[in-house]
């Protein structure tokens, strides 16, 4: 077969390309080490950072804008210039990997980051993979910033995020419900087989009764739902006659549930977890959702914070990375990515160059934990001041509720502060860890 020859050729070309690419990309790992040798004459410090995002997996709908936010942040701060406390320039070398929401691939990339590039910090993404890598990160002294706000990460020594955990966020939502309706009836709608959806449920079950909220149902709503599935779940939920529904899934399936509620003429309001609600929700759920749904958010939506200094930084970063508003589906997701980078930058700005070079990831962790009794980290009004204490990385406990009004516009309510009850503990105790 004559064609078969070409096939061999193609395979050979791929192999040669792989080998060539391998040799070419081996260099960036070096600078981090070479600078450490002559500490006296350091001009710039290269901080290697691994970025783990989902561009092609099941959460890519929100993951893409988050990834843009992270990249824009790294580019922006590299251009603007980050300096340690003693005035040494810091430059981020970073590697972006798409792990497609697959924890196993995340672990492969983690090994690459650690062994090939020797990263000091990782900016990561999902619940399952971050929880899985938390102990490794602690062992390898890599500061790990995630987009998952799982309660299990609060107690891990090297995991950070500039938001309250899912359980505290859900507790704030309970408080909001209690403030609107006395003795409200609540149905929980979430996928019983997904880590992210399950994460805040124990805290809700522990906290809601204290506020007089009665949980009357616990209904399975699949993450991969059709309208028929959503309608079925809604019918079952409606038999309990609730005033509120907690939707703990991602945006696609929560939008379908709200749509089904509109179709069935259900009364009652949806309160939706942070990854289930953003600026695109009104369009996805349609007119029937107006005045029927609210989302939880630890941050102010950029559209609602245009007067804050933080917003100006955010838009500057967007421009630095060459994005316009049109390129970004949800500014909230972009903001979430950017804030993770900003937190890392602020930690580095608190360090001396020698401490940073010597301690690497450990130094970053200690800089973050220096805020426990010292000055908190601030985000220009986009998020409240954040403090991290050793053994408990819960930066603050307040949350915004974003209400989708009858006019089809989003209105912020809050912030709502959870005090007097430890929602993190409630979740950790229930899962035995």
């Amino acid at each position: 077969m004559a064609q078969a020859k070409y096939l061999g050729l193609i395979v050979a070309v791929i192999l040669v390309a792989a080998a060539a690419a391998l040799l070419l990309t081996h260099h960036p790992a070096q600078p981090a080490q070479t600078t450490t040798t002559s500490m006296q004459h350091v001009k710039t410090i290269h901080v290697p950072v691994g970025v783990l995002v989902d561009l092609s997996g099941p959460t890519s709908g929100v993951g893409r804008d988050y990834a843009k936010g992270v990249e824009a942040g790294l580019k922006y701060f590299n251009e603007k210039g980050v300096y340690t406390r003693d005035g040494v320039r810091v430059v981020f070398d970073y590697w972006v990997r798409d792990y497609a929401y697959n924890p196993t691939r995340a672990e492969t990339f983690y090994k690459e980051f650690r062994d090939k590039y020797g990263v000091w910090a990782i900016i990561g993404w999902g619940t399952a993979d971050t929880e899985q890598l938390a102990d490794s990160a602690a062992r390898d002294h890599i500061a790990y910033f995630s987009a998952s706000y799982s309660a299990k990460l609060v107690v891990k020594p090297y995991n950070f995020f500039p938001a309250p955990d899912y359980s505290t966020q859900a507790c704030a939502a309970m408080k909001w419900i209690a403030s609107r309706t006395r003795n409200a009836r609540l149905v929980l709608l979430y996928d019983h087989n997904v880590a992210y959806s399950r994460s805040p449920i124990p805290a809700i079950k522990a906290y809601a009764p204290r506020l007089g909220i009665k949980i009357v149902g616990d209904v399975h709503l699949p993450l991969r739902a059709t309208e028929a599935d959503a309608e079925k779940a809604m019918r079952e939920a409606m038999t309990k006659n609730p005033d509120y529904y907690w939707c703990g899934n991602t945006i696609r399936s929560c939008a379908l549930a709200v749509k089904a509620a509109a179709k069935l003429g259900a009364k009652g309001m949806f309160v939706i977890n942070v990854w289930g609600f953003d600026e695109r929700f009104p369009k996805l759920a349609g007119r029937g959702a107006y005045g029927r749904a609210a989302g939880v958010s630890p941050f102010r939506y950029p559209e609602m914070a245009e007067d804050t200094p933080g917003y100006k930084v955010l838009t500057a970063a967007m421009k630095a990375a060459g994005y316009t508003r049109k390129d970004i589906g949800s500014m909230l997701r972009f903001e979430q990515g950017f804030l993770n980078v900003w937190l890392l930058v602020q930690a580095i700005e608190r360090l001396n160059s020698t401490t940073l070079l010597k301690g690497k990831g450990e130094a970053i962790k200690e800089a973050l934990e220096s805020s426990c009794h010292g000055k908190p980290f601030t985000f220009g009004g986009l998020a409240p001041p954040a403090r991290y204490c050793p053994g408990r990385h819960l930066p603050y406990t307040s949350v915004w509720i974003i209400l989708l009004g009858k006019d089809g516009k989003l209105h912020a309510e809050g912030p709502i502060n959870v005090t007097g009850f430890d929602c993190v503990k409630a979740t950790l105790q229930s899962s035995g860890g």
Partner: protein
């Protein structure tokens, strides 16, 4: 054939090591493999570990698909059965992982034989569909037993007597040893009476039955072997990770296993599987790293993610249409060409 070596006995002709060059290659290869972790550093060693794990799984599927002609899309899920079983058995009996691998592999072989039941009545594509159904059902079962998508593999389970197996280098030697034994066993099965019976079933099962081969038994055996190797791969995989989650054992994994076999060389159990795993798993990992960096810099990160699917898919289709013998076939032609050079035949 080089002049000077004459085989006088059947055993000599069928030996795995027939010529002096084989002995030399064996010695050099062993030395190289033993020294490898020192030469390539921890990251590439971890890639080699993954390669060995997936080669074992691919060998299993190659016996089923390449020898016995049964196409299966459940190898990924079976690997999952092996991995979960290993961790649960080790946790229940308070043993180390190595001790739990063998029972887990036997359990996986049983599950696999069960999945193979439809094949006694069905041929070809029907079996493929049964295996897709089995794959999806197993995925669901995993998601129920592992709802947090994370079953940790504690470090204190990763021991062998006084030796800790948490380090990539020690893992490398253990897994290399297991993979070598598995490969040797597979090679021997392939050239024994069972292997020949499997080939007869593949080529024409009705005819095979007429010449006295118990087709159902041979098929069941092929499934059991494929399951055993998948379970072994799953157990070894559990050794290499900090925790297992079911998203590692989805339909995509099964498709990639099939791709390894088809691209590497169906029927060439050991070398075909190794080449396929090398190209599809390791080669891709290495290419992906550099592709992502270049394309992300150009703002085309999504192209890097998509290229995996496009290139792998196109390779599978192209090999099936143009080169059914796989990479092995190409290599053999290259070898022939060089041997005869400068003559054309």
């Amino acid at each position: 054939m080089p002049a000077g070596v004459f085989k006088e006995k059947y055993e000599e002709l069928m030996g795995l090591l027939r010529y002096p060059i084989h002995w030399a290659a064996l010695a050099a290869g062993t030395a190289l493999l033993l020294a490898l972790p020192l030469l390539i550093g921890p990251y590439y060693t971890s890639l080699a570990v993954t390669l060995a794990v997936f080669t074992v799984g691919a060998i299993g599927l190659n016996m089923l698909t390449g020898l016995a002609g049964q196409i299966s899309l459940a190898q990924g899920a079976l690997m999952g059965v092996g991995a979960y079983a290993t961790v649960f058995i080790a946790a229940a009996l308070h043993t180390n992982i190595i001790a739990a691998i063998l029972p887990a592999a036997i359990l996986t072989a049983l599950v696999s034989t069960l999945l193979g039941l439809p094949s006694f009545r069905l041929k070809g594509y029907y079996l493929a569909m049964a295996s897709i159904a089995a794959q999806m059902i197993l995925e669901y079962i995993f998601s129920v037993i592992d709802p947090d998508q994370y079953t940790p593999v504690p470090v204190d389970m990763k021991t062998l007597g006084p030796i800790s197996l948490a380090q990539t280098t020690t893992q490398y030697y253990i897994i290399l040893g297991c993979a070598a034994i598995a490969a040797l066993a597979a090679a021997n099965i392939g050239r024994s009476a069972i292997g020949r019976a499997m080939k007869a079933v593949r080529d024409n099962d009705v005819a095979a039955e007429i010449i006295g081969i118990d087709v159902a038994r041979v098929k069941a055996l092929a499934f059991a072997l494929a399951g055993f190797f998948a379970g072994l791969a799953g157990g070894l995989y559990a050794l290499t990770v900090t925790g297992i989650d079911w998203t590692a054992f989805t339909l995509d994994t099964s498709i990639e296993y099939l791709a390894m076999v088809l691209v590497g060389g169906p029927g060439r159990i050991v070398w075909g599987s190794l080449l396929g795993a090398m190209l599809i798993r390791t080669g891709w990992s290495m290419l992906e790293a550099s592709l992502s960096d270049t394309l992300t810099m150009m703002g085309l990160g999504i192209l890097a993610s998509a290229s995996k699917y496009i290139v792998l898919g196109a390779l599978v289709a192209a090999f099936l249409v143009l080169e059914p013998e796989g990479l092995i076939g190409i290599l053999r032609r290259v070898k022939e060409y060089l041997r005869l050079w400068p003559y054309s035949y």
